[in-house]
């Protein structure tokens, strides 16, 4: 609280210097989690399965940053649950970081930040930050068994559709499980090609898109968020199809080398285009629907 402001009744409500208040907290969070992020970037974030990690972190931080003024301006009404939650978060961090349990180490971010918000501002702040906190769940690496269980059906489905389409247009292609045989080449549809990672990344980018291109309709927001799942599936299938074609026409080296990155680009661009296209369709359908219902109610009013 600024003493100068309190002594001058003419000035607006005392402004709490934001940086001074939050600076120690940021230092603490940096001490905790920068080592975590550095280690993640050196290990699993480099793998295809977890490459969505930095994107999730970036998007979450962006959402926190967006809420910073709203949260800072809230009156301080600390919640009792704050300190226990904060301490619990720190204990999970210590256990997770020292014993190499990523679930605890990365998951503790959510608990520690929630605790901090409750201690420094209260429940209203927690509510204001619910979205980036929820988002941080996607940063937690899932146990291998869970990932496999979720990824395998998706890989099988993508392989099935890719084979079906290419076969329908006349290519010599066969499939066994997630292995495609096109001409004399064998391609393995790996996790990276059709896995959870691209789904998470696309969901993250999709939600970011929704937040930047804002529209007021809850229907549009929820529908698009859900549609990203089939869109991701379609984009993955397109990627597998294009890689199969590249390998068939230009050989193994082309398919596995530089073109692999290109195919990844194809995936993201096609997914983003689909998201924008669906957004256009939904928004315009909503507008047409509203105009129709509005004009019919006008009609009723004119009756005498």
């Amino acid at each position: 609280m600024s003493d100068a402001a309190a002594h001058h009744p003419g000035l607006p409500a005392p402004q709490r210097p934001a940086i001074a208040e939050w600076f120690p907290i940021f230092i603490g969070l940096i001490a905790l989690y920068v080592p975590t992020w550095v280690d993640l970037s050196r290990s699993i974030w480099a793998t295809e399965a977890q490459a969505h990690g930095p994107i999730i972190l970036g998007v979450a931080l962006w959402f926190f940053w967006k809420q910073r003024i709203a949260i800072h301006d809230m009156p301080a009404s600390p919640a009792k649950a704050g300190w226990p939650l904060f301490i619990l978060g720190l204990l999970l961090y210590i256990l997770g970081r020292s014993q190499d349990i990523l679930l605890f180490e990365v998951g503790s971010q959510i608990i520690v930040i929630s605790g901090l918000l409750l201690i420094v501002r209260g429940w209203a702040a927690l509510r204001a930050a619910w979205f980036p906190l929820f988002f941080l769940f996607f940063m937690i690496p899932l146990p291998g068994a869970v990932v496999d269980a979720l990824t395998m059906p998706m890989k099988l489905a993508v392989s099935y559709v890719a084979e079906y389409v290419l076969h329908a247009v006349g290519y010599p292609i066969a499939r066994s499980g997630v292995i495609l045989q096109i001409g004399q080449y064998k391609l393995l549809v790996a996790d990276a090609c059709a896995g959870l990672q691209t789904l998470f990344t696309l969901e993250a980018l999709g939600l970011l898109y929704l937040n930047i291109i804002r529209r007021d309709s809850l229907f549009r927001n929820i529908t698009l968020a859900i549609l990203i799942v089939p869109i991701s599936f379609a984009a993955n299938t397109l990627r597998v199809i294009s890689l199969s074609l590249i390998t068939y026409h230009f050989g193994d080296e082309a398919g596995q080398g530089f073109m692999h990155g290109f195919a990844g680009m194809v995936l993201f661009i096609s997914a983003l285009l689909l998201i924008i296209a669906f957004d256009w369709v939904i928004t315009n359908s909503l507008a047409v629907y509203r105009r129709l219902t509005k004009s019919s109610s006008d009609c009723h009013k004119r009756k005498v």
Partner: protein
């Protein structure tokens, strides 16, 4: 108000330091430094006999100095029983539960080579002498073949099933400041009759167990 912020900051910085201090530092592998798994594993026992086959020995490409050689070892052999049924034995030893050892885990190793894991189950089998050892039985399939496999994961001296159990075993050592070494012992055969494969592989493992001396056996099968 001011004090609260500083207390929070100090607590967080302390947590970071405590976490760094508690990281396990002592390698259990120091105790196993003279173990040669190639020499340790018998070539003939009970009904089974090592066969010289085209499979060849998989040499770990990450071998550096003579000292390092003992810290990461692999053994790869083919055995046949009296009826001519062949199994492939693979033993991978690593000085820590991460990196090189993880790579040999069948749930990672097989899919990486283009296999699909059709099924996987854990069973606790009673070995001669009364000790119950958790084994994982999986069926892997590629375009050319079906390969059922049975494997055992050792974390330090403790045999565990894959997954959470393995993490708990690692934790048990970690909380005492020790980094456990590990062994993955795997038996597989190319056989589309998975029940028969399971029985033969189990027979191989129990015969191997029975034929080994107590201290050598402990290196492959653990103590508990």
């Amino acid at each position: 108000m001011k004090i609260k912020r500083f207390v929070l900051m100090v607590l967080m910085i302390s947590a970071s330091l405590v976490a760094a201090l508690l990281v396990p530092r002592n390698f259990l592998a120091e105790l196993n430094i003279n173990t040669d798994f190639e020499k340790l594993t018998p070539e003939i026992f009970s009904e089974w006999k090592k066969v010289d086959d085209e499979v060849g020995v998989v040499i770990d490409p990450v071998q550096k100095s003579e000292l390092d050689r003992f810290y990461s070892q692999t053994v790869s052999r083919v055995y046949a029983n009296k009826a001519g049924y062949r199994v492939m034995l693979s033993i991978a030893y690593g000085k820590a539960q991460t990196d090189s050892l993880r790579v040999h885990s069948p749930e990672i190793c097989y899919p990486a080579q283009g296999f699909m894991i059709l099924s996987s189950k854990t069973k606790t089998v009673e070995f001669p002498g009364g000790r119950g050892i958790p084994l994982t039985f999986s069926v892997a399939k590629s375009i050319e073949r079906v390969e059922p496999l049975t494997y055992l994961v050792l974390v330090g001296a403790r045999a565990s099933a894959a997954g959470v159990d393995r993490k708990l075993a690692q934790l048990e050592y970690g909380l005492q400041g020790v980094i456990p070494d590990g062994v993955i012992l795997r038996v597989s055969s190319i056989d589309s009759n998975t029940d028969r494969a399971e029985a033969r592989q189990l027979d191989f493992l129990t015969s191997l167990y029975r034929s080994m001396a107590l201290d050598s056996r402990a290196k492959l099968f653990g103590l508990r």
